[in-house]
Symmetry: C2
Subunit: 279 residues, 2 copies
């Protein structure tokens, strides 16, 4: 007898990886949902789901539902399918921005359902179920953004599930804080990587770059559709972050121009210390 | 009988690694020079030099001399020790900036000597001979900046030596071009890494960062003294680079604020394509 049934909506890289991770654990039955029958067949063949449906009325089989769709589709999905969810089910998502979703979900959520925002801090420069990986969450970080009145027992249950698939560290954050922090620690590095690859083609074409350039640009291998949504949905925090960073670059440029060695020394020394502490 | 004697001046991470790499090859005798007797003893103990001296008058034993000092010390070293070098010796350096050195070296170089600027595109977040690594140059890129009248046979000889220690790819560049390109492909990522670690402590302290932040900040683990010199010596190209990049960030900020999805899409798509081609 399985302890829980996990529903996964959207069998892409993330949904497929979640399904695969839960499928490996005896306690869970995994049901996949996708708009593509081909994707469902592929998930069955890979053995990462027990059942799969293109129709959402089977959502009522799932105790916990992971919605692994693009950010803008999440609230819409809950709204359209609100009558299908199992009584008292837990719903969570994987979107990299949280404030808009947590705000809008309140308007559409059935009273007995629980919605807890989720953001797995993992990624790959690949898309699609063919890259699904049961080990994607091993030793990873995960952020949860509960609602004001989230049932603490359901919150704990979701935590347990995530630990079981290998998550090492779960942070509870307010959605608005989450979006501010993520603008800096994730969206900004993605923006910088993209800009580094889009400017000074002449220098790039020399192919004289070492590890620093390669590391800084790895995440330029981005899923454009997804990241347009992530940037759009975090417009205010991200604009502020880019504005602050633009100023930081201007300050450094002034340091270089004025030969302000003391300030450069402070920046390098503090940067090094903070980075060492990050490990 | 050894084919050549390699002199290495300054047994730090880079000098120590060059010494170790040549020492492993039977054809070469390796002589180390350092101002610290302790460092020389340590190099002997590690078996990465055949002989070591704190006095530079033994430079006349070396057919090829790698000067592995900080950028500002290189021309000075050649000037002070000009009478010690062996007749017709090849001298090269490892500084990450080249224009100032190539310009100034002309004023101090003995007529029979050859100076070919060098920039190994390798690095480590470590300093000192204890981290010397004979494999540091395996499959690496290396830039050479010959003088106008560099003897082509000596240039080829230096190339051969570098290929023998594992260098995969040698680019010949004009010093001024080198400095422009390096400002973008190396100094800029180092500047960005440093700035990322110096701003928004609150976000960093959440420890919610994923791989994108870690990769973009790895090189914040910088040798401050060295990089102050590198920035100082490349003041003009680097200021221009920072200025251009500041503008690129401002443009992206405007895209985000104005919801210019088409432009974002172009940036992401082109960035991805260029990054894929970089591998």
């Amino acid at each position: 007898m399985k302890k829980f049934t996990i529903g996964v909506v959207g069998l892409g890289l993330m949904g497929g990886s979640l399904a695969a991770a839960f499928k490996k654990i005896d306690d869970y039955r995994v049901i996949g949902f996708d708009i593509s029958l081909k994707v469902i067949e592929s998930a069955k063949q890979k053995g990462i789901i027990d059942e799969g449906y293109i129709s959402n009325n089977k959502l009522n089989k799932a105790d916990v539902v992971f919605i692994c769709l693009y950010p803008k589709k999440i609230v819409e999905f809950v709204k359209i399918n609100k009558n299908y969810f199992k009584n008292s089910a837990i719903i969570t998502d994987i979107a990299g921005i949280k404030y808009g979703i947590m705000k809008d979900i309140e308007k559409v959520l059935r009273k007995d359902l629980e919605f807890i925002g989720g953001h797995p801090m993992v990624g790959k420069e690949k898309e699609g179920i063919e890259f699904a990986d049961a080990n994607l969450f091993k030793n990873s970080k995960y952020i949860l953004t509960p609602r004001k009145n989230t049932d603490i027992r359901k919150y704990r249950l979701l935590e347990e599930l995530l630990y079981e698939i290998g998550v090492l560290n779960i942070n509870l954050l307010e959605a608005v804080e989450h979006d501010e922090y993520v603008a800096y620690t994730s969206q900004l590095p993605h923006a910088l990587a993209t800009l580094l690859m889009n400017n000074n083609e002449k220098a790039i074409d020399q192919k004289i770059h070492g590890g620093s350039f390669k590391d800084a640009t790895r995440v330029a291998m981005i899923n454009a559709e997804l990241w347009i949504e992530l940037f759009e949905e975090n417009k205010y925090a991200l604009s502020k972050t880019l504005d602050d960073f633009e100023k930081a670059i201007r300050d450094m440029k002034n340091c270089v121009q004025n030969g302000d060695k003391e300030k450069l020394h402070n920046l390098f020394t503090k940067g090094r210390e903070k980075r060492e502490a990050l490990r």
